[in-house]
C-alpha cells in the first residue's frame, strides 16, 4: 500500500470539492449573461462569482491536484517513499489557510477584482496574501519533487529517470520560474497598494510581470494531462509508448518555451513596442511544436496498442482501441477538443489577428477548451486510474465513468462553439448582463442560451464525477482493488541510458534564463528607465 495514500487523497478531495462549487458558479454566470432572468443577479454577486470561479478553477483545483498527483508519481514511479512528508503536510495546511483567507475576502465583497486582479483596482490585502500562501505551498511541493528525483538519481547512478517523474520535475522547475512574475507583482506592487502603503502603481510594469506568469501557468496545469498521455494512456490502451526520448524532449521544450511568450497576452496593450510583441509572438509559435510532437507520439502509441489488439487499415485501427477504458476514452476526447482549443489559440497568438478576438467570448471559449477540454478531462481520467490504488477498491460500474467523460466533452463543445461564434460577432467577455433590447445584441440571445445548456451538461457531468469517486469509500460498492503497484506505460524501446541533458535540468535552466533575459529583459527594464506616470490606486471594499 502507498505510504502517501492519505496525503494524495486529501489533496485530490480539496481539489475536486472546490471544482464542484466553482462549476455551479460558472453555470449561474452563463444564466446571468443570457436573456433568461437569473436569480440573485446583482453586479456585485456576478463579479464575486467570476472571481470565485476563476480562483477556484485556476488556482485551487489545479494546484492541489498537481501537488497530490506529484506525490503519487514520486512514490509510484520512483518506487521509493516520498522524502519530507512532514513538509508536504505543512505545505497542504499552508495552502488551505491561504484558500480560506482568499475565499473569506471574496465572500465579504472585499476582493471583487477577478482572478487576474489587475491593479490599480485592488481588493483586501488578505485576498492576495491568501494567494501568496497557496503559491508558497506549491514551492514547497516543487522542492520535494526536485529532492525526490535527486535522491533517486544518487541511488540509481546513470539510470534514466522514469519519464513520469522527469516530467513532474520539469513541471516543478517550470513552475518556480513561472511564479517569479506574479510573486514580484504581488509583493512589490499589489500588496503594498492594498495595505495603503503606496498610493500609485506602475500599471505597465504590473501587467508585464503578470504576463510573465499568465501563459506558463497554463502549462503548469496542462503537464499532468501530458504525463497521462505519455505514461498512462499507452498502457491502459494495452500498448506501449512509441518514443520515450520524444517524451523527454517534449517536456523540456515546454519548460523552455512556456515562459518567454507571455507578452502575447499584451498584444493590445499600449506599453510595449511592436518589436518585443513580435519577438514573443515568434517564440509563441515555437511552443506549439511540443504539442504537435505529442499528438504524433501519442497517436502512434495508440496505433501500436490498436494493432496489437488486431486493428488494421490506415484508420481502421482506431476502432480496435479499448474505448471502454476511461483513460483511452478521455485521451481521445481530449485530443478532439485540443484541436479546437489549440486552433483558436493559433488565432490568438497571431499578432495582428489577435485584434479581431481580444477580450471577446472567443478567448473564453479558447481557454475553456484547453482548460476544461484537455486539462480537467485528463484530471478526471487520472483520478479514475489511480483511485483503486488510493482507496483499495475498484469501480463497480465503469459505464458510469464513460458516461461522465462523454457528458463532459459534449457539454464543453455545446458551450464553447456558441462562444467562438459570439466572439467573432464582437460579444465581449467579463460583463454581467447584456441589454437584449438592443437590436445589435438581441440576436446573440439564442446562442447564449445554447451555451447555458452546455454549462448544464457540464454540471451534470461534474455531479456524476463526484458520485463516481464516492462509492469506493462506501461499503456496498466494495470490491478488492489492485494489490500490485501502479504501473506506468513502458516505451516500445525502453531506454537503457539517456543523454545527461535529457535526464536533468541544469542546461535547460540556463537556457530558460537566457531566453527570459532576451524576451523580458528590456520590456521590464524600460519601466525603470523611462518614467511612466503611475496610476492612482483604487481600493474596493472595506
Amino acid at each position: 500500500m502507498l505510504t502517501t495514500r492519505r496525503l494524495v487523497l486529501t489533496h485530490m478531495w480539496v481539489a475536486f470539492a472546490t471544482f464542484s462549487v466553482a462549476i455551479i458558479l460558472g453555470v449561474w454566470q452563463m444564466w446571468a449573461r443570457s436573456p433568461l432572468r437569473a436569480p440573485f443577479l446583482t453586479a456585485e454577486n456576478y463579479f464575486n462569482s467570476v472571481t470565485m470561479h476563476g480562483v477556484s478553477m485556476g488556482y485551487v483545483l489545479t494546484t492541489f491536484f498537481i501537488m497530490g498527483f506529484g506525490y503519487f508519481v514520486a512514490e509510484t514511479a520512483l518506487k521509493r517513499p516520498l522524502p519530507g512528508k512532514t513538509w508536504a503536510w505543512a505545505a497542504f495546511w499552508m495552502g488551505i489557510l491561504g484558500v480560506l483567507m482568499a475565499v473569506l475576502a471574496i465572500v465579504t465583497n472585499n476582493a471583487t477584482v477577478l482572478f487576474t486582479f489587475y491593479p490599480p483596482l485592488t481588493g483586501s490585502p488578505w485576498f492576495y496574501i491568501g494567494l501568496v500562501l497557496v503559491v508558497v505551498a506549491s514551492w514547497i511541493w516543487c522542492g520535494l519533487m526536485i529532492v525526490a528525483m535527486a535522491q533517486w538519481k544518487r541511488a540509481n547512478l546513470g539510470e534514466p529517470v522514469p519519464l513520469a517523474m522527469f516530467a513532474t520535475v520539469a513541471n516543478a522547475v517550470m513552475w518556480l520560474w513561472t511564479t517569479i512574475g506574479v510573486a514580484a507583482e504581488l509583493l512589490f506592487q499589489v500588496i503594498p497598494a492594498a495595505f495603503g502603503w503606496i498610493h500609485t502603481v506602475d500599471v505597465g510594469l504590473s501587467r508585464t510581470l503578470f504576463s510573465w506568469t499568465l501563459h506558463a501557468i497554463v502549462y503548469f496545469w496542462l503537464i499532468p494531462a501530458y504525463i497521462a498521455f505519455y505514461t498512462m494512456a499507452p498502457r491502459e490502451a494495452g500498448g506501449r509508448l512509441y518514443s520515450d526520448t520524444m517524451g523527454r524532449l517534449t517536456f523540456v521544450l515546454f519548460l523552455l518555451y512556456s515562459l518567454p511568450v507571455g507578452m502575447h497576452h499584451l498584444f493590445m496593450d499600449p506599453e510595449h513596442s511592436t518589436g518585443f510583441k513580435f519577438v514573443q509572438a515568434a517564440l509563441t509559435f515555437l511552443v506549439s511544436v511540443p504539442t504537435f510532437l505529442t499528438v504524433f507520439t501519442i497517436s502512434a502509441s495508440m496505433e501500436l496498442a490498436a494493432r496489437l489488439r488486431g486493428g488494421t487499415g490506415v484508420f481502421g485501427w482506431i476502432k480496435a482501441l479499448p474505448w471502454k477504458n476511461p483513460m483511452t476514452l478521455a485521451t481521445g476526447l481530449a485530443f478532439f477538443m485540443l484541436w479546437f482549443g489549440g486552433g483558436g489559440g493559433l488565432i490568438n497568438m497571431s499578432y495582428g489577428m489577435n485584434a479581431m478576438i481580444h477580450n471577446t467570448s472567443w478567448v473564453t471559449a479558447h481557454f475553456h477548451l484547453i482548460f476544461g477540454g484537455t486539462v480537467v478531462i485528463m484530471y478526471f481520467a487520472i483520478a479514475y486510474s489511480i483511485w483503486p490504488h488510493l482507496t483499495g477498491w475498484t469501480f463497480r460500474s465503469p459505464g458510469r465513468l464513460r458516461l461522465q467523460l462523454w457528458l463532459w466533452a459534449v457539454g464543453m463543445m455545446v458551450m464553447t462553439i456558441p462562444w467562438h461564434y459570439l466572439g467573432l460577432q464582437g460579444q465581449w467577455r467579463r460583463v454581467a448582463t447584456f441589454d437584449y433590447s438592443d437590436p445589435m445584441i438581441a440576436g446573440w440571445g439564442p446562442w447564449v442560451i445554447v451555451s447555458l445548456i452546455g454549462g448544464l451538461i457540464l454540471l451534470a457531468s461534474a455531479a456524476l464525477f463526484i458520485v463516481n469517486l464516492l462509492p469506493p469509500h462506501r461499503k456496498w460498492a466494495r470490491q478488492p482493488g489492485p494489490t500490485e503497484p501502479y504501473r506506468y506505460a513502458l516505451a516500445a524501446h525502453p531506454p537503457r541510458r539517456v543523454p545527461e541533458v535529457l535526464n536533468g535540468f541544469t542546461l535547460w535552466n540556463l537556457l530558460v534564463a537566457l531566453l527570459m533575459l532576451a524576451a523580458y529583459g528590456w520590456p521590464i527594464l524600460q519601466f525603470f528607465l523611462t518614467d511612466a506616470p503611475e496610476a492612482i490606486v483604487h481600493r474596493i471594499g472595506g
Binding site: A43, F47, V50, T112, P120, L121, V203, G204, R207, G239, R240, Y242, S243, T245, F267, M268, D269, P270, E271, H272, S273, T274, K277, A281, F285, L286, S288, V289, F292, L293, F296, A300, L304, L308, S350, Y351, G352, M353, N354, A355, N359, G426, W428, R430, V431, A432, D435, D438, P439, M440, I441, A492, H493, T530, A532, P533, E534, A535, I536, H538
Partner: protein, 234 residues
C-alpha cells in the same frame, strides 16, 4: 519489443513529423509576418505617456477637446476618455472609408475597447495613450463596450459609434463632428472661449480622478442609447 518498428525507424518517423509540424508553424508565422509588413497589421504599440492625475486638466484630453475632430490637414482623430463607468463622449460619429485615428486614455483603472464588427481593439492602460488606426468599410451603428473589468459598473460602460458615408460626414466649422441627436460636448462654441466655461451636457461628465462611480451609470448609458436612437437604420 512490442511495436512493429525498430528504434531507428521510430526516431526517423518522429523527425519527419517534427519537420512537417515545423513547416506548418513556419507557414502560419510567415503569413502573420506578411500581414504585419504589407497590410500594417500590427497591434497598438505607441508607448506614449499620459499622466492619469492631470490629463483632464491640461493638454490634449481636456473635456472640450474630446470627440471627433477633423485636423487642419484632413486627418480624422477621435479622442476619448474611458473612466469608471462611462466613455466621454459616449457616442462618436466617424466617416466611412477614411482613415480614423482613435486616441484613448484612462484617468483611473484599466479599461479596454472593441468596436463590434471591426478589428478595432485596444487595452486602455492608465499612464498611457492607447492609439488605434482604422478605416471603417461599412456604415451604420456599432457598439463600443468596455471589455476589461473595471469595477461594479463595468457591464453598463458602453459607447456607440455612428459610421456615416463620407458625403454625409459634415463636421462643423471648428472641425468637430457629433452624433446625431447627441448633445455635443462643446456647443459649437466660438474659438477662444475657455474650455471650462462650456456647458458639457447632461451625462457627459468630466473624467473623475477620484474614481467615484457615477451616481447611476445604468441611467447614463440609457440616455446615451436613447440619444443615439434616431441614427439607427441609417
Amino acid at each position: 519489443m512490442s511495436g512493429p518498428e525498430g528504434e531507428e525507424k521510430v526516431v526517423k518517423s518522429e523527425l519527419r513529423w517534427a519537420l512537417a509540424a515545423g513547416a506548418v508553424v513556419f507557414i502560419i508565422f510567415a503569413a502573420v509576418l506578411w500581414a504585419a509588413i504589407t497590410m500594417r497589421m500590427n497591434p497598438p504599440s505607441n508607448i506614449e505617456h499620459a499622466d492619469p492625475a492631470t490629463l483632464h486638466m491640461q493638454g490634449e484630453f481636456t473635456e472640450s477637446n474630446l470627440g471627433t475632430t477633423v485636423e487642419p490637414d484632413g486627418r480624422v482623430t477621435v479622442r476619448m476618455v474611458a473612466t469608471q463607468f462611462a466613455f466621454v463622449p459616449n457616442c462618436l460619429m466617424v466617416p466611412q472609408g477614411r482613415e480614423v485615428t482613435f486616441r484613448f486614455v484612462s484617468p483611473d483603472v484599466i479599461h479596454g475597447i472593441l468596436i463590434t464588427g471591426t478589428n478595432v481593439n485596444t487595452m486602455i492602460v492608465p499612464g498611457y495613450v492607447a492609439q488605434v488606426h482604422t478605416v471603417f468599410r461599412q456604415s451604420g451603428d456599432m457598439l463600443m463596450p468596455c471589455h476589461e473589468f473595471c469595477g461594479l459598473g463595468h457591464s453598463e460602460m458602453i459607447a456607440r459609434v455612428q459610421v456615416v458615408p463620407a458625403d454625409q460626414f459634415r463636421p462643423g466649422p471648428d472641425g468637430r463632428a457629433h452624433c446625431e441627436g447627441q448633445t455635443p460636448l462643446v456647443n459649437t462654441a466660438a474659438p477662444g472661449v475657455p474650455a471650462g466655461d462650456v456647458d458639457a451636457g447632461a451625462q457627459a461628465q468630466g473624467p473623475l480622478v477620484s474614481g467615484e462611480p457615477s451616481p447611476d451609470p445604468a441611467q447614463a448609458t440609457q440616455d446615451a442609447v436613447a440619444a443615439a436612437q434616431p441614427a439607427t437604420g441609417e
